[in-house]
């Protein structure tokens, strides 16, 4: 495998690096020491007319196959020769309709361990994208001037970062809960206001908070009601009363036995195939 790969590597240098249609490939490696390259596949970020995207059109470069040791700062540094970079977003999968980005709390949403990711690099000017598309590379993630930590050093710094700061956590919890309490209070006030007030068609919403609470609208509650009904009906039913019913139960019993017998036969067949009947 290795030998053939190397041969092809030589060929590549003559013909240019193969890339899927619409993309261009940029070789990237960790540092000078490494021999082989990974390839970033980049194209301009485009979405269909009408769909929203959180990344600006024309100015965004879509990058596939970003190696795990490559951070956002690192990408921003690597692409800055093409033009000033505004921001870099790294995520696990390419997503078009990007979910609304909330600033995630570092305490409650720890950053996952990175694998191979995709990146959206937003340049300040559209020219950056076109420059990036013809970038030859090879790019180096870790250089002497900008070393990137990996291995033991990275784990130690990760561990250091993970030692929590209780004060910051407390502050965050307090602010969140204040906001939450406020929101809930508002919602309740709104609900209270609407209580008993008919809407434009004249319907009144009955809630649990009213003077006479009603059954909660949950699946469990409705299942309970159905079950009660079923039992009531079953109590009234007559079993083994008519001759045909009697005959049918007997037949049913026989059918059960037959079915069991078939099952057992199959089991035996299987055991025989596994030579389970040789006591030696």
């Amino acid at each position: 495998m290795v030998a053939r790969r190397r041969k092809r590597g030589e060929r590549d240098s003559e013909q240019g690096i193969p890339s899927p249609p619409g993309y261009s490939a940029i070789p990237i490696k960790f540092s000078e020491k490494q021999q082989a390259f990974h390839y970033l596949y980049v194209r301009e970020h485009r979405v269909r007319e009408g769909t929203k995207s959180s990344w600006p059109q024309k100015r965004t470069l879509f990058v596939l196959n970003v190696p795990p040791y490559c951070t956002e700062e690192c990408l921003s540094r690597l692409f800055s020769p093409c033009g000033p970079v505004q921001s870099v977003g790294l995520q696990e999968k390419p997503e078009l309709a990007d979910s609304p980005k909330e600033p995630k709390s570092k305490f409650f949403h720890p950053t996952p361990i990175p694998g191979f990711q995709v990146a959206y690099v937003v340049f300040q000017k559209p020219g950056g994208v076109s420059a990036a598309l013809v970038l030859k590379g090879p790019l180096l993630v870790s250089t002497e001037s900008h070393p990137v930590k990996s291995g033991i050093h990275k784990w130690i710094s990760d561990y250091t970062d993970s030692v929590p700061d209780p004060e910051a956590l407390r502050v965050e919890v307090d602010t969140f809960m204040e906001a939450y309490d406020k929101r809930i209070a508002e919602e309740e006030a709104k609900a209270k206001e609407k209580e008993g007030v008919p809407d434009e068609e004249g319907w009144v919403k009955v809630t649990r908070r009213g003077r006479r609470p009603v059954l909660p609208r949950t699946e469990a509650a409705s299942l309970r009601v159905l079950e009660r009904e079923r039992r009531k009906r079953a109590r009234k039913e007559l079993l083994n009363f008519y001759a045909w019913q009697h005959r049918e139960t007997k037949m049913e019993h026989l059918a059960q036995l037959r079915k069991k017998f078939e099952e057992d036969k199959q089991r035996i067949e299987l055991m025989r195939a596994q030579r389970k009947f040789r006591p030696y």
Binding site: V2, R5, P20, K29, P68, P112, I152, P164, V173, R217
Partner: protein, 1146 residues
Amino acid sequence: MGPAPAGAQNRGAAGEPEVMELALEGTGKEGKKESSKKHALAGSPVEGFLQPVKLSRAELYKEPTNEELTRLRETESLFHSSLLRLQVEELLKEVRLPEKKKERIDAFLREVNQRVLKVPSTPKTELTDQTWLPAGVRVPLHQVPYTVKGCFHFLPPAQVTVVGSYLLGTCVRPDINVDMAVTMPREILQDKDGLNQRYFRKRALYLAHLAHHLGQDPFFGSIRFSYTRGCHLKPSLLLRPHGKDERLVTVRLHPCPPPDFFRPCRLLPSKNNVRSAWYRGQSPPGDGSPEPPTPHYNAWVLQDVTLESHVQLLSTVLGSALGLRDGVALLKVWLRQRELDKGLGGFSGFLVSMLVVFLVSTRKIHTTMSGYQVLRSVLQFLATTDLTVNGISLCLSSDPSLPALADFHQAFPVVFLDSSGYLNLCADVTASTYHQVQHEARLSMALLDGRADDRFQLLLMTPKPMIRAFDHVLHLHPLSRLQAACHRLKLWPELQDLGGDYVSAALGSLTTLLEQGLGSRLHLLAHSRPPVSEWDISQDPPKHRDSGTLTLGLLLRPEGLTSVLELGPEANQPEAADFRQFWGSRSELRRFQDGAIREAVVWEAASMAQKRLIPHQVVTHLLALHANIPDTCVHYVGGLLDALIQSPKETSNTGEEALAAAVRCYDDLSRLLWGLEGLPLTVSAVQGAHPVLRYTEVFPPTPVRPAYSFYEQFRERASLLPRPDKPCPAYVEPMTVVCHLEGSGQWPQDAEAIRRVRAAFQLRLAELLTQQHGLQCRATATHTDVLKDGFVFRVRVACQREPQILREMRSPEGMISLRDTPASLRLERDTRHLPLLTSALHGLQQQHPAFSGVARLAKRWVRAQLLGEGFTDESLDLLVAALFLHPEPFTPPSSPQVGFLRFLFLVSTFDWKNNPLIVNLNNELTVEEQGEIRSGFLATRTELPIMVIVTPQDRKNSVWTQDGPLPQVLQQLVVLAAEALPVLEKQLMDPRGPGDIRTVFRPPLDMYDVLIRLSPRHIPRHRQAVDSPAASFCRGLLSEPGPSSLMPVLGYDPPQLYLAQLREAFGDLALFFYDQHGGEVIGVLWKPSSFQPQPFKASNTKGRMVMSQGGELVMVPNVEAILEDLAVLGEGLVQAVEARSERWTV
């Protein structure tokens, strides 16, 4: 079920057969299994999996025929269930002799008969003059003393008849033996031939001559001597056909005297037929002391005499009743699986046949019964009747001249008289053997009454070799020491009786001695029966000492194992002298707290592991004291595997004490939590959720006290940090504890908000614990780490309603329904299932003290095979728990060693495809519920993981195996277990010592595609490796435990961090295997499926590159870059990446 197994796709790519070696041995099979699953959905029958049965309506409801009804009725009345009936029928078909073979055997027997009758006669000579024997044959008997009166000449036999099981049709495969009685003509024998072994000498000479003549006949493939049922005075001649039929049958020739030659009254058990004067070569003592009786000698003569009458009796009873014959065949299989039927004093097939006859005669068995019912009745009889106390007799006559049962009880340990009333059929059976039979019968009866589904498998198909059945085993080797033991034990009369067989002579006394000495520690003592040897006719018969080793098996009582004291009688009692005599110098006078002064023996044992091995001390002491057997001859196999679960520095215990210390500390902590003042909600329950707290952590934690100079100090957060310039610090794993709070309506209704409130609780908890109890704490959003007495606990606050809130879904109509989501399942597992399981297993440990040892050995082994990370900790613990809760057909293990062997057996034989493993914790599941679970399992098989473990708390989902193992990993474990078990058993059963016990713990590395070698400097648990390194690095701990004001480094294990990165980055290209206990190597296996060239897809470019293949652009993994990434990601930790490219090519 995880990603699709590799094999399936590989199979599809037939064009490139050598794309990749199959990922694992047996992957191909797995692949088939997987594809079969897909087929199963399509409804076509496939191999290996049970399919739900589909019968058409017409078939189900057609009118039954008469035969069908009879069969159904019969099944109901004669067997337990139709499955059992089918299984029994299938088994009988397998062990029965096919008709075709029978014909060939019959032809062979006719030939034998003719040839035996044609052997020429010889002239008359003195018995001591054996010069007439030709050179090529030796007398198959030890003639000690040599001189004996009488003459011998050979005459062709008066009669040759087939006797035994072949005639009755009850012989079972694989060893088909046909017994032929060769009646010696009356002229050969003389009047007093019953005396002084003269009859046996003649019998041996007769056989020697026969052997010589038949040996020259090219018709026979092999002619050898053997002992009849292991009895040293009675050789028999084995004849096997020539050529390809050699393995077909063995014909055994037994010479026997003409009927009515011996007078039975001369052969009563109280009579002497071996004179001391002759045997010991002394002149008669003359003091008038009576000659000692020779009951065994007499019985052996009688056995020859009654050979034919027994066959007649058996054939009249069994001949007409098929059910009885089936029953005997089943019983033979049953005995065989328990290794009870072979050797001298074995409970042979002949004995059970006679037992069946006895039960028929007492109307306990009816001739119309089915084989299964016969088996059941005989087991029931054996389980409830102690033949060592109440003998039975087939003799119906009430002749007063017949000897009484009591006479036989005096002479023999086990009594079962034949129809003549003179012969004890169980003459050679020792009391221990019979007790073993009884024990097995009791277990089997319990099994038949209890378990519903797999009793056939457990009863008749599961072998119970000694090493797997008994907790401890000891070998006596060499056997020649027993000769001295016989003299020490003053067993001369027995030697005289048994013709010098000192092994059998000593056996009875030794077992009684050990049984008495082990007392309350012992449940059952069994001994191996010396195997029946075969030898060439030109050789001398093997000596007693060559008959292998004597192996004793001890089944221990766990409750008796905890005491180190053997309490004797009070010093002034007369029994005290006996006690002193029994225990010798070990017995001491001691004064007890209640004021009593008693004789007592105290054994040295500080730890649980040592206490488990007290029987070793007892056995060696007693054998040396009473039988003159030095401890160099006693090879005790009981704690050999302990070394693997001992902590690297402590070798005196196996960690039970350290675990108990950790659990005590946890108990203290939970008390502190309960009593905590100032929390908005009080603590309602504290539950452990960590392997340590259920005693199953392989290496228990030790209290830590870090040496500050070794670390970076982070004073403002009271923590220590690892330093890059030092070796990796010691690994400290926090023990998870779940803390439930009292219920409250104040919790918010929103998942995000609940997390914030929980975080607030964690902070408050840390604050209060520090304030009120001065404990070092560190709070995060999800847990609080607490340092207490050097142990670190991770307290997680749980909110009861949280899983439910995570499950709530609102349908468009506003209906709130509950649906499981991954997050809710995870939370429920961590806060509900895990604590429940932990407490249940903690309880199991209290019942079965060996649980901890077995679980830890098992886990150690799985991890040492690099497969540990494929299995959750809990799933392995449950597997081990199953060994204790469902030990059938064994008893719950009382030593780690036997438990581990059974673990290997369970893993290697359990059919995961078609069965869930039901672990009935606390016995909460009824038999009916188990049946429901099984049928439910079959119906939903395709949605369940490959390995399904059901507990009372988790009846459907198999929580602990949802995320693994992959089918390939499980298959690999099965293969490895199947290989390890015989190797290990052979090592343990080797009387010369087990050799290197760690062999089976070393993983095979040749199957991996890439090996990543790690630097020991950064492996914190390096010392725990199977082959513990002689030197390792300092890990920054002070040897004296003490308080520390800074939190030690928690959960920092570079290999694990590295593996997590690797799996995240390359998880869909390769599998990674590693032994977390100090492994120095990571094994990497490429997934063949992901090496198939694939078309370009934006979502699937991870680690791949585009290349043109045949004009098309396809994606393949960028292997060279990945190999370099392996080194980059593990910088500092990785020493070398060995790509074993000979294993794969593109």
